[in-house]
Amino acid sequence: MPEVMPSKERLLNAFVDQLIEDKGWGERDPEELLKLRLKLKTQADEAVEKGVLGALSDEQLDELGEMADRDAPDEEVSEFFKSLKINYVKVATDALSGFRQRVLNDEIEED
């Protein structure tokens, strides 16, 4: 049994699986279930991406946009995100929680 690692994948899998169960979407053939799982994981991931970027100030967003315009190298982008003084953990928690509520409230469709 490998050591239990606190990884993104582990959290997303547990999160999405529980969501599927809570919504009663689990009764389907394996292939469809895989697709649904992938879709929800992608959407949840996107929600966190938007949450992180949404936590930036206007100036930081501008700076990032400028970096996008000139195809800034990975190193620079990496430094940028390292230097941010945002609480990534809380942002991720809030984003996932918001996504969960939207699914539970049927604001995000099954298919």
């Binding site: 690692m5 994948e9 899998n13 547990a14 529980q18 969501l19 895989l34 953990v89 991720a92 928690t93």
Partner: protein, 831 residues
Amino acid sequence: MAETGRMGSGESMGAVIPPERFMEKLAAREQAKQVEQLVAEQQLGQEAIAVVNQEEAEKAKLTAEIAKTEAEVEKLRQALRYPSAYSKEYREEQLRNAEGSLASLRAKAETLEASGEKEGEAEGVQTEGEPAEDFEYYVWEDLVPSPEAQTHELLVKASYEDVLKDIDDPKIKADLAEYFAERFGGGEKVAVEGETDAGNGQVAETPERKLSEAERKEKIEKVRAKGWAPFKRAVARAMAGVAAVMMLLGAKPTTAQATRVSDLGFASGGMIGMLEKELNEAESAETELAGTTGEAMGTGIGSGLISQIEGAGVRNPEGEGSEESEGDEEAEKNEGNEKSEENEENEAEERSVLETLEDKLGVSLEDLKNTEGGVDFSRYDLQGIGAAMFEGMADQEGTVVFENGLMMNLANYNSPEKYKKNSFGTDITKELSKENKESDLINITLERLRDFAPGLAAFSAALPGVLEAAGVDQSIINNENLEERGQAVWALMQGENGGDLQRKLMAEVSLVLTNGETGFSFYQENGLEQTFYAKMLDDGSMQLAMSLEERKDEPQVEVVITYADGHTEVIDLSLRCSGQPNGDKVTKKSRSPISSKKVMVQVPGKGWKALDQLDSGELAKIGDEMTVRVPDRETVPDLDPKRPEVPEILGPGPLRPSDKPETGGETSAPDSGWSETTVPETPTTPETPTTPETPKPETPPEAPKEEEKPAEDEKKEEPETPTPETPEPEKPDEEVEKKDPSVAEDLDDKVDKAGELDKTEDVEDTGVGKTEVEDDAPTTGDYVDTVEGMTGSMDEKEEQEEADKKAEDYDYLDSDEIADIVDEILSGGVK
């Protein structure tokens, strides 16, 4: 989930806010909407301000507030069904407070109605003590799911901006700003940052939110569309951090250790800060595998973090005391019961925080621990998944079902739109959207592998973990020759129970590709590289083998798979060859990021064409009567609808207004997204020999079969013309070398191997299924095709120039090695 005592701070996790503040937020939001509506109705006139200040407006607002609040209360009643980390007593208290707030609103409205008194006079109405009837506790996320708007400050600002964003008149804007300042008070000063500038009457920019929500959204999408690996890593870190916090809180520290937990100050963000620091530090070395966001989370962060916490004596899952903790226990005895009680409180608080997290995410700690991280095939019914994936395929047109259960559908393989004759199918770059290229890639790849069994064999062969889980014999898995592994797997698929193996491998590949830890990194490959090809033989069977290809800005994707046990495997796929897996990189020519810049040429009578799609006649006219443009921005206009669509990952798409260059500079067409350049006279074309190979959609080859393809197929698809707009940033060689541990170690070996594989005879001699190769067998690929296509039309001087150009690609080799390779190629030793 069980209810527990409340957290130390009612809002520390953002789950629940006091009803008073909730009402405040609602009121602020409603007021902002009211003002906006009024402003709109009054055509943004000054009258709106007056109306806002009138009693009628106040009444209308209050009525709206009450109606809105009642609706929200009804909604909150539904939310009461959700579990909470807060105690029953606390929630009852919250309900009473909320009831008071609502009653106060109602009383205020009644007072205004009855006496016409102003709002300030109505505030004295006592409403406390009224019976609580329909109160709920407030789950903030139910009301405002957007993470951006989860604080009071942001909400008010958002409302404020909603009102102000469409107002042009600076005076009205200033008046509204003043109005908001008055309404929200000094504590909400953020809402009135748009104070007027006495000098010019313009609203000053707010330091934090000068952008409208729409502008912010646009910028956010722009950044997301970049698909930056460092950004994705940051997001992955954030999620891994959540998991890490839960696991830490779920650990059961001793009483003494709980003191340390408290000292770390989780509730006040101290532990989170420490986590972030650890997560950031873990990013560097462990995450160097490009795009492996999940892998980074699964290893570096977890182990580093837990080690740090353990080092601090905080976490001890087995309850075994370390030296430090034993020392702490000694100290604890001396400090007596007071300390013990404090620790218990700390423990309770930590449990409470954990349960709040569990509530918010719907995920228990046990769920988290029992869920797979990396790929873990043991959790799945592989045959079942595989069978489902092939269900219905037998009924599809063109599907062939063999006696052993193996299924294939070669429609894609036989397509006239195929990129090259030795590819596994059609070019898939056009099918990858810019926004969802990873999920598009997954879906397309799964479909292609399902249809094209040799492709599945080749793909699986590159992943020993997949082969092992499918029960493939260890002797095959341990064979370090990728080509032979692929051929062996393909042979197994054609043997007894081959259908079962096919289904199992398909299920595994789907699990591998859809696992969130799997990383995708898109790039352009350069240099010589081994790659699989498949060929249909006369007897109708398919031959799987590898050949050596020259890559020149070939769009590829590297897929890094992380397994549950932490080990990783890497495979890279050629996108224009339907995701055909590649093998060893024979040269050290570096990869480059996917470039969106394409040199476009305006061909008289034909519109704009990409430089690499010009025929030789057209190339010859460059500098004479044709204009060359180099896009200076990411997006390139699709100026010629006849031009084959360039895939999103390569950049071009319809020109949007926002894509216009911001500065004209020397460009002659500043509004087009292009910079026009002086056409280089010299290096271009007469020397540039051939027509690109890429099939043109408007003139698809007639014959669908490989063997019947016209001679153009033999020509090189990439002209050698320098493309000044896409300089290739040289990356360290290690980046290439580490992608596949099976890459040959020694440079000389690589050179020798390159030479050998450039000979058809040698290709025939490699691998397991040593099959006779036909004259037009796809044994060599682009590089050889190019040479073959050139030799008939070039004199010696041109050949030498071409050889020199080739040699430039191998600048890391010494002159003798270069000469050997060039001679080998030009000597006709290859077909």
